[in-house]
């Protein structure tokens, strides 16, 4: 197939002319056969950008070769009062970002130094680290961590609005960052998408202190010196900046990230002042109707015209946004189901709640905890359980998984389970927010509790006669599964299940959220006790894995509820 010659020509022209290229977008659109050439062009553009910085910087009074001991390498940006450079610190042998105030840029030098020192005290994962502030050759400069990544403005303009989960995380992280800035006695006053960087690890970082100003001085400072489009209405009207005006800017940044544009379609500053006094229009949900209600409400509250109607501060905004993020994450189940064409037959590990109690007792050096008997734990005599997760690969093979094994998005998982007596089986999954879901049983699944004795079941089994599996849909650090077997129904989990809406044909599966009462009950039998990665044991014979080993393959010794936790690594 012929490559898109126009696209290639445009890229060549952009690199030759020194026009910035959105390489991520170009790579996404490139055909496989074009990738090597694209990568080469990107490398050449790197040489060109670097050389241009060298050539254009020299001889320019605003681009000195040195500042103090730092060697200036490249101008990264220029604002009204300062330039930002990539610089080399020869003493520490690392690259830094240097924000260098222009000579005569205004501001009290001593106040700026004090402000820089306050900023340097902030240590926060979502605030750029300030290394220090100094004055050389009459110019004040702030040295900071050099962040590598695109700004939020670049990302949204190139790639469109953020998805809801990412936007909620952005809001939560920025609110946390703003809280740290406020906590240091500073106001940001210039929070905008261009001042937020998404670094190579995906973390959103407040990358610039903008016109930071000590909060106690804001009352007397001249107003309206930030970026007007992201200013609070009261600041645009000439009032002082406050924590709440920073929160308003945060709300507008989120509005931009979610809608892909600014809420005020105005061309002049007077028009902006008038529009801001009425508040964002249209409302966010008019621009993006499917915005989750919690997220939309948080943005609306942050951007309220009346400061008193806003969040009182960044921490309050952070709580609301974190809750919105949690709800979105809960809805976006990390495990979905997709058809699976193969069935597994393999199995492993066994433990018993009685065994766990014995282990806990041994570990704590006391007698077994007086656990309340679980609602279902009828004394039904000894029975045996075998259970193992298996992964189905593309070639139709099944791979047995054990704790510590890795899974990736796209992996299809099933649970093979077998017991020597009829059992009620429950499969729980814990997400990264600690919320637990009941993956099995489900009203729509063909397999139902109790599972018959002495038969192998592959869960989730079939749905309408078609084999299914759980599919890992995102990378998230770890997948925690809990498999529970019981001689009778576990009342608390059945109650959670009963709250599910009735299944409808063609509708996505809604998984039950497992309530605290259920998990507390299971905790009572040791089921949710965290199994150590490498168990701290008094002796090999008293470790929990020793119990697993002791019980594995034995058909006796399991009484009451049986619990097995499996932790699969799912690195981002």
């Amino acid at each position: 197939m012929e490559p898109d010659r126009d696209a290639v020509e445009r890229l060549l022209a952009s690199v030759a002319d020194g026009i910035p290229v959105d390489w991520e977008a170009a790579e996404r659109q490139a055909r496989p056969e074009e990738r090597a050439r694209l990568e080469a062009l990107r490398a050449i553009a790197g040489v060109a950008d670097f050389s241009r910085g060298l050539q254009r910087g020299a001889g320019d009074a605003s681009f000195p070769e040195r500042w103090g001991s730092l060697l200036l390498l490249e101008r990264l940006g220029a604002g009204a009062r300062a330039d930002v450079f990539r610089a080399w610190d020869p003493a520490l042998r690392r690259e830094v970002a240097l924000k260098l105030l222009r000579p005569g840029a205004g501001g009290d030098g001593e106040a700026l130094l004090a402000e820089g020192r306050a900023a340097a005290a902030i240590r926060h994962p979502h605030v750029v680290t300030v290394y220090g502030i100094e004055r050389h050759d009459g110019r004040v400069g702030l040295t900071m961590e050099l962040l590598r990544g695109a700004t939020l403005e670049q990302e949204v303009l190139a790639g469109g609005p953020l998805d809801f989960a990412t936007a909620a995380r952005l809001g939560s992280e920025l609110a946390s960052a703003l809280g740290a800035v406020h906590g240091a006695g500073l106001l940001h006053r210039d929070l905008k998408p261009a001042n937020v960087v998404r670094d190579s690890e995906g973390r959103f970082v407040l990358a610039d202190f903008g016109l930071g100003l000590r909060a106690e001085e804001a009352r007397t400072a001249p107003a309206a010196s930030g970026t007007p489009m992201y200013m609070a209405p009261e600041v645009l009207a000439g009032g002082p900046a406050t924590h709440r005006s920073d929160v308003h800017s945060l709300g507008l940044v989120l509005w931009f990230a979610l809608a892909g544009g600014h809420p005020y379609d105005v061309a002049t500053l007077p028009a902006l002042v008038a529009a801001a006094a009425r508040g964002p229009s249209p409302a966010l949900r008019e621009r993006r109707p499917d915005t989750p209600p919690g997220l939309a409400a948080a943005v609306a509250r942050a951007t309220a015209v009346d400061p008193k109607e806003r969040f009182a501060g960044a921490p309050e905004a952070g709580i609301a946004l974190a809750e919105a993020a949690r709800r979105i994450a809960s809805r976006r189940r990390r495990l979905a189901r997709t058809p699976v064409l193969v069935l597994a037959t393999v199995v492993i590990a066994v433990t018993a709640w009685a065994g766990l109690r014995a282990w806990r007792a041994a570990r704590h050096g006391g007698s077994p905890a007086p656990a309340t008997p679980p609602a279902a734990a009828t004394a039904a005599g000894a029975y045996g359980v075998e259970a193992s997760f298996v992964r189905h690969d593309a070639g139709g093979r099944e791979l047995r998984l054990a704790t510590g094994d890795r899974v990736r998005p796209g992996d299809r998982l099933s649970l093979e389970v077998r017991a020597t007596r009829p059992v009620w089986v429950y499969v729980l999954d814990e997400d990264e927010h600690g919320e637990r879901f009941l993956l099995f049983p489900q009203p729509s699944f063909d397999a139902h509790n109790p599972l018959a004795a002495d038969s192998s079941f592959l869960l989730p089994g079939t749905i309408g006669g078609k084999p299914n599996a759980w599919t890992v849909t995102s990378a998230g650090g770890r997948e925690h599964f809990l498999v529970v077997a019981s001689p009778g129904p576990v009342a608390e989990l059945e109650a959670d299940l009963g709250r599910l809406p009735a299944p409808r044909a063609g509708a996505p599966i809604a998984y039950a959220t497992v309530g605290r009462a259920s998990t507390e009950r299971l905790r009572g039998v040791g089921g949710l006790a965290e199994l150590p990665e490498a168990p701290a044991v008094a002796s090999p014979d008293t470790g929990v894995f020793a119990h697993f080993r002791a019980l594995a393959g034995r058909e006796t010794g399991v009484h009451g509820i049986w619990v097995r936790q499996v932790v699969l690594e799912n690195p981002r």
Binding site: A16, V47, D49, G57
Partner: protein, 203 residues
Amino acid sequence: MNPGLPESGTAPAPQDPRLLATIDLLRLSKAGDDRARDELLGRYLPRLRRWASGRLPMYARSLLDTSDLVQDTLLRVLQGLDRIEERGPGGFQAYVRQAVLNRIRDEVRWAARRPGPDEVPESLADATPSPLENAIGADVLERYERGIAGLSAEDRELLLLRIELDFDYAEIATMTGRPSRDAARMAVQRALAKLAEAMGHGT
């Protein structure tokens, strides 16, 4: 028409040296024309110095001030013009570039061995990246250099002027004897396509 550009690649004499192609300046300089030699120095020295600053590890950057290796190298090249002219279009820039790179390597090793308070172990000196390596990575730079080395001298000249020395297209048209800014731009793009192709095959 851009008044700053010659109508054709062959410049009639007498003419302002600033409007002459590099190859014509080299010819005049070889014949003893000091104005042509000064124009060559003025045209290349400042940009080559800045270019070299990106290629020198940080600890060796003072060499640009103390011994000015770029000026020294350029003057030596101009004194030995007989060897260069026969290389045809682009030969001069490629020769100067390589001469400065060689000199940088020599000087960096010398600086590493030089005793003193700023002494850098030779092993560390070899491993210390230049700002350009820091910016784009040593592997990428190596691929780029290999790709550049495989091009014709003419293409190499165009890319050196545009990509590394940041001359604008009008200046490149003058220096390479092309009739217009657009002609220079197209030539640069063609050279760029060849370089990308060469680097792409090298991966």
